[in-house]
Symmetry: C2
């Protein structure tokens, strides 16, 4: 591997001069710059970022710890984050959350000396939070948050749950099922709370059997529906707490021969691209911001990384939800 030392030798200068040509060319004589650049060209020299990182104590790496891409919500945010980071000179180490062993993921990430972390995979009460704070690496949570601390951007999940539920109530549904992921995450906790609140306020009892807080896989959704359909008081509408789950739900009901929304209404949440497809037409929820969640997050992270720690602003952003009515919800028959 060709180093700045070899370039220096070929150019007949010292290694520091080569370094200066790269970083402060204005501090070095024009002729010398030329000599050095020629030598670089000749040797096909590429600066070693690892050595640079070690010396500078800055890696220009960020870590993205994302929810699984089978949920298209995270597809959009990953693209946004990776591309925006790159535009600002940052490289993105991507990890997907590992229910089993998230802690070791963070342990690994911190060893990489990343300049910042962006994550969607935190629980409301997650021991990782204080580890991250202790590490002093700037981090931003998006989609999910930790209790009420730190930097985050989220949707007002409770309000979203209310919006969805009220929409279904207004269509005449009273037996409404809630299907979502584990409620130790802020997203599902909020969306469930909103559903319960909307029912309560309008004096509609919530049968505990209607609430399916499981995991986000297709298998789990299918099983939840199987169970729901066996109930005496079986629901006529489903509020699925993510579009990904709503799609599994729609698919399964269609396969069983039901018509949507004639037999059942379905409401999702996230407004992922495919929900707008003419063959899908999923009613869903989005937020009122001209920027996607992931963009808010990465912009703020970059701010934090490029400013002294004393001057760092705190971002605690809770966006207003907005209902998008499409074809999967209709009046109760």
């Amino acid at each position: 591997m060709v180093s700045s030392k070899e370039v220096a030798k070929v150019a007949g200068v010292s290694q520091p001069t080569v370094s200066r040509v790269l970083n402060n060319p204005e501090k070095v004589n024009a002729e010398t710059v030329n000599k050095v650049k020629q030598a670089m060209e000749k040797l096909n020299y590429r600066p070693n970022s690892i050595a640079r990182s070690l010396k500078q104590q800055k890696t220009k790496y960020i870590a993205l710890i994302s929810g699984p891409l089978h949920n298209p919500f995270f597809v959009d945010s990953t693209t946004t984050i990776v591309n925006h980071a790159k535009e600002h000179g940052y490289h993105t180490l991507v990890y997907f959350e590992d229910q089993g062993d998230n802690l070791s993921v963070y342990e690994e990430v911190l060893r990489q000396q990343v300049d910042g972390i962006i994550l969607s995979s935190i629980f409301m009460e997650d021991p990782i939070y204080k580890e991250l704070v202790a590490s002093e690496v700037p981090f931003v949570m998006f989609n999910r948050r930790y209790q009420a601390g730190g930097n985050y951007v989220e949707i007002d999940n409770e309000k979203a749950g209310q919006l969805a539920t009220n929409h279904l109530l207004k269509l005449g549904h009273t037996k409404i099922a809630w299907i979502g992921g584990p409620t130790y995450t802020s997203t599902f906790q909020g969306r469930l709370a909103g559903y319960q609140k909307a029912m309560e306020v309008t004096n509609h009892p919530v049968k505990p059997e209607w609430v399916k807080a499981t995991d986000t896989t297709e298998k789990a959704v299918v099983q939840a529906i199987d169970e729901l359909l066996l109930l005496d008081d079986k629901p006529t509408a489903f509020f699925a707490a993510t579009d990904s789950m709503a799609l599994y739900c729609q698919n399964y009901l269609l396969r069983m021969g039901y018509r949507i929304p004639d037999h059942f209404s379905i409401c999702g949440m996230d407004n992922i691209d495919i929900t707008a497809h003419a063959a899908i037409q999923m009613t869903t929820l989005t937020h009122e911001s001209n920027k996607p969640l992931g963009l808010h997050a990465i912009e703020h992270l970059i701010h934090m990384m490029e400013v002294e720690s004393e001057e760092r602003k705190i971002m605690q952003l809770t966006l207003e939800p907005k209902l998008i009515i499409r074809g999967t919800t209709g009046p109760k028959q």
Copy 2:
């Protein structure tokens, strides 16, 4: 930042001993190991991977240069690659191809001293290829390949094009449009060649206006369809060279009020998850392998990275395509 030197001081040993406790604990006295581990615990020590990388001349990083995630094909491969790499101790730097300036992406990647590169974003005649070879970093191409060189895994695109086209011909369609991306990529070149061959063999002329080699965005697909529908000889079937494009196509035709497959048949390619959805039912193509393409690629890359360069095997894998007939293709009316 707490270093191995500080741990050494607290433990009352030398820095190399700390290093040995981490990497060869069997080479150090059991009591000493304990002392050192306690000191690590006490100081909350985390080894600095950057320094380790510099010394070892191995980073345990790989770079993934992927096609855009709005094509769900790359969603699956990204997940597979990132997770499989992590299981083997590798961290993944993710980049998305940049039509405009892929070269600078590679330049950046090589500065990061990655141990290997995995990419889908190469052209059949791409100057990057010889740069990569010259860098001596192992790399594997998936989905697309460079002419006929290097390590790659792909589908037999030409055969796939034939399969799709023959399927449509058999249904009675003779005016078949081809919609795909730029033909300087092996994928689209092959899929187009297969389409042309199948038409030729069966003595069906191909009108040049039926072939839309554009780019892979929704906008481009919509425009292509607009143009196709204005033709005198307008096609009755579409072979879209990726599922992503096929979905755009299906969506647009449905929105215009057409029924699929009554008015038009559509065949995609890639067998991405959503195509199996009951509301989508996209006829598509996949390959006959129990492993996804991305997994073949990452497994081989790991092989290359963990073996001396002389013993590296070459992988040039061309998988057999297979047609999956669903609801978007039907007899010509």
